[in-house]
Symmetry: D2
Subunit: 386 residues, 4 copies
């Protein structure tokens, strides 16, 4: 038995087998991956890592597993699933994920298979079964990654703790104690309010933290930098789970050219300006925004750069992240029946619309070129009916 | 006016002039310097940076300056002093400081003089005067760096918040509201208990955090790595305030040899073992321990490596940090008289002795060589009477 | 200068004049009035009082007044307004308010006029002007009692702190820093989210705390007890602001009969059972529920008691509190224009409907009679179309 | 299974048997007994009750029992022991205890025997065995009431939470995880620091909270009032565990005379003044102070009242509480040996002396008579060599 001191959840017990997994280079690497990418440039306390989040998720997985009455082997699997669920994340977590052709779940599976992790797991588990849980598949997998998973509970609490934005302070116990496992992980009727509250916590965290305007610019700048490194084959997207944050930063610093320029700007917080913003509610079919292929965006950027008369690399068009709130379809057990959360909660129903309130397509330019954008007819370039 | 959201102190106001200073590359660099070096390998939440600490110290400096009734110009100087007081820190803060031939206060002065910071400061202040405050000199300087300074108040609170070790949770308001400035920054009688409590907070943080056994090993490994890079002239100690944590890490990773080996061990948390420990209370003149010159230590390490039959680089002798508690001589104003804190508080008097309780000289070896140390007569090598 | 230590907001400064007001028997009485009535029988920590809430509101009033740039005299008025705003509350706060023929604002004005408070206030203020502020009238009054007042900010935070229900943890600073005073106290556009979040905090606190099912039963029992004491002229509703919680409790204990029986049940947590519940969404014109006059309810209770064959005193029909969310019409300043919050926020719009989700008319009986209610046609007695 | 929401420890599970005990009038009464007596007149948030403390102690007892590896029956006893350990407390807890001829432990035993509690306990336990645990006897009893008991852990945390004085924030987990049960409840070597820290927490809480100067005056006034009620046989000290706070308050209010005067002063915070203070370090044999019999004090008060020319009831001589720190003799298991904490910790050794630093004998008079005390030779009346 060993203890890990978590700043949120206190002293957390880990057994010997878990220590062996945690002590692999693959899990230790997560100590060097920031949970929220470059958000620390907006909220200076946001330096927390995927490592502490993974340990925290393990702790909540235990709590939920205990409440659900799982057997010892199932509990063990669920704990391990939580520790490993983010092992495939690339540097700066979700920031890099958007330019990598694989999801972090996909990469986690691959990493487990080809590394020491798989060998250790095989000693205690059926590798296929545990991999499914890590990926969030099956009913046990839903504990790790489902509509109401421990991943989300932990990151909301943790991101609030480190950013100082209180919106994510959710009532984890009320949520956990109102869940049942009956094929699906479901809510009891009494838990509806706790679930509403968690959904709203996430909703409020979007514009304040996850999609904070400045964060979006910074992350876009970094992604552009990373793409450059990938184009130059200095970073291999197939093995993105082998790099840590410092690797990418030093690769960019070492490369004389545009990647270096971008990393220097980030270091010095010399951030691009927003020269155009198109709010989704001004658009006729807003959902189509999320379907525009990256190649098309790239083309538009080039067109714009020519017409604006600035270097090709300086124009960034930024599509916001799709505000995904799958919890809306969480099942609620009501008198033997099962209903979707959004069908019984008027608040959740409203969120379904409101979640697009803060979404906008933006165009960024370096500060020194931003006056070129004055009176420029950006609307003509946007492939959406306004 | 701008706000910076601090996870500890909330929304902190900064004025335009302060924003200009904060937005320099010199202060932005502090976002990339971990406050507690490699402590995150022991307490996974300890990823906080010198940047947030500097902003937090500025906030407390304001509070104290207001309480003391300083005028607007003095308040401004004190705030700026707090923001800049750590600007000269090298990567991983105090960890690197021990192998650099200058204190971070010395380096801060130098950096201010030769960088943009000096130019900006000169617009509003007498450069000599403000530099003294930044260095903690004069009565206003004592607010920044003295016996009961805002630096210490902030770091105790902050290190507790991020490590999850509650010992550092001190009562800052009680302390501040019981201070007076009369040539010296002094305590009122009613503040004695708050000061005792802050001293004890630091005392308890030593073995749990600052001089935690594992942290000491890790930091020793890193210092050895940094020395190697300095010997190879890959890092310039004269300009250590130009590097951030990632610079040193990537320099070590790039260098094939011992520096790379050490950084890989740190990455993978493959930590040296303690093969010998000499507690100070077993030594006849314990204070002499802190006077052993670094060169002497280096010689002993070489001798040991030969006699143990392990590579010269693998033996680390670690002298603990001197447990400095200058607050003990804080002046307390009692009926027109001034007494030293340690002369009126039996608790503080006891601390004067107790602070050495946890100090020991240690010798570390890589795990794979640690059996060579069995029954080895380390005592014979130690230049202290036992 | 004196300090009051508040468990939420820390050390709060009060000046000499404020101390004189706070030290009157009228304000000291608030130390003996529970903020949330009998909620401590559901959440054991909810023993906090109107006194600490009033001091906390004063602190937030200062913060808001500073942000709005009020002059010294205005600030002083606003602080005093906050301290006094609840002085007229009767025992157990809002619980008694529902059976008293005056609002607590009305009673506060009366108390100020006829007590020492008025005399002291007159030394520094125009009595009419300050009374308006205390009552929440005029633009300065809106700081104390308006759509986005400091009263509400403090009680949400405080009730969360003491009940342990996190829903009320709101971001007070973000709210305050996004308010403007331009005839009306209004929100800036950037503050919309903070306001949405505060509204939702209140919305979630309703079923969990303020209108928690058990709390509603307990409060109904107490009101019945208090009515009895008023009927017997043992308590004078005209002077309800002279009593504290203990006065009513001991009056009830001393009176042999139904009042004593009820207070004994409350003491022993022997709580009535809900034998009937009519959800508002099953009713055709739900708003009419809140218009049923108390006399009509009393008649129905008597009818029911006869037909159920239980003592007249044992039937309680409980109409829920009207879920008032005036903040929905808070003005938001948008490009020189003013819009209502509910017109620009889809979340707030949804709340307008959702707030009735948890409301129901209930009928309670002592446990020992509750089987008499089996299959009883309560619906026939309810004066609402179902 | 039921949950009780504790504002400190979160959602706490209680089983059916425990609910039955908790729902007795004897345990429900604790909801109406303030944990810290009249401390709420100094720290307005200190309204917490013996009830929540008892539930909190039960929670910590579980944690400790789990860590110690107790069997299910033992765990159950320890939990029940914690819930009941304070059942015998009189109104305002320790404040009344000093004028009652029995300790609260003694009264708890008596209450258990003669009430419903005993009947319920007998269904599941040997009554003698469980009573011993409740009283803190035997090795299991030490968990409830010993040198390092859960009672103390809970009250330090809880009193800090409600007063807002951070000194009591201790590291309960570090403490619990470093305890062993081997006939005695003992500390492991690694837990010494956590124990030192808890001792210091208590030490700092004494002058700030438990023996705060104003609190001492208020409590003395209340004790005088209670004594009066006992003399008049309006309160029966033999059955003090049948009264709650409101009972005593209303008895005093109803009695025209000195008891009423005192309760009115307390209500209005019209507090006696200290006219004389004798610090223990000015006395030759300070320990003798605690041996002066109450009768002797009473005599001195009468003498003083005559010589000062004030009514007999107005003079209060207040001996401080003996600063008991039994934890100093806590056993620490070191390499098979057992040592006392104070023998291995220089901090604890220092506390042994320092704990008397803040102790003084005081004399109080109503404000309106306090000038009679000017230049009065109080020293001559004190039965101690100075």
């Amino acid at each position: 038995m060993k203890f890990i001191r978590d700043s949120l959840h206190g002293n957390l017990k880990v057994d010997e087998f878990e220590v062996r997994l945690i002590d692999t280079p693959q899990i230790q690497r997560l100590r060097r991956i920031k949970q929220l990418g470059f958000t620390y440039l907006v909220y200076p306390g946001a330096n927390h890592t995927r490592f502490e989040h993974s340990i925290g998720a393990m702790h909540l997985a235990s709590k939920l597993a205990n409440h659900l009455g799982l057997d010892e082997h199932q509990k063990k699997m669920v704990r391990i699933g939580a520790v490993l669920h983010d092992a495939g994340h690339g540097p700066f977590s979700h920031v890099s994920e958007r330019v990598i052709p694989y999801s972090h779940e996909e990469l986690t599976s691959r990493l487990v298979k080809e590394s020491l992790l798989g060998d250790i797991l095989q000693e205690a588990f059926d590798l296929k079964e545990i991999t499914q849980i890590i990926r969030g598949e099956g009913s046990l997998g839903q504990i790790i990654s489902g509509d109401l998973d421990v991943d989300r509970m932990d990151y909301l609490l943790r991101d609030s703790y480190y950013t100082g934005v209180a919106y994510g302070v959710i009532d984890v116990e009320r949520l956990i104690y109102n869940m049942v496992l009956d094929e699906h992980l479901m809510l009891k009727r009494k838990g509806v309010q706790a679930a509403e509250s968690m959904l709203l916590a996430r909703y409020f965290m979007y514009p304040s933290v996850y999609q904070h305007h400045t964060t979006r610019i910074i992350n876009s700048m970094f992604r552009r930098c990373l793409l450059k490194l990938m184009e130059m084959e200095l970073v291999n997207p197939e093995k993105i789970y082998l790099y840590d944050d410092a690797d990418i930063i030093s690769a960019a610093r070492a490369q004389e050219g545009y990647a270096q320029e971008l990393i220097t700007r980030l270091d010095n917080r010399s951030i691009y300006k927003t020269v155009y913003s198109l709010k989704l509610d001004e658009v006729q079919e807003p959902h189509r925004l999320f379907d525009i292929p990256p190649g098309k965006i790239r083309e538009l950027e080039q067109e714009l750069s020519e017409d604006l008369g600035v270097g090709e690399e300086y124009v960034i068009i930024d599509i916001p992240e799709y505000p995904d709130f799958q919890e809306m379809s969480t099942l609620v057990a009501i008198n033997g029946d099962r209903k979707k959360l959004r069908d019984i909660s008027s608040i959740v129903k409203a969120l379904n619309v409101a979640r697009f309130d803060h979404a906008d397509l933006c165009i960024y330019l370096p500060k020194e070129y931003s006056d070129k954008a004055d009176n420029f007819p950006f609307n003509n370039y946007i492939p959406l009916e306004i």
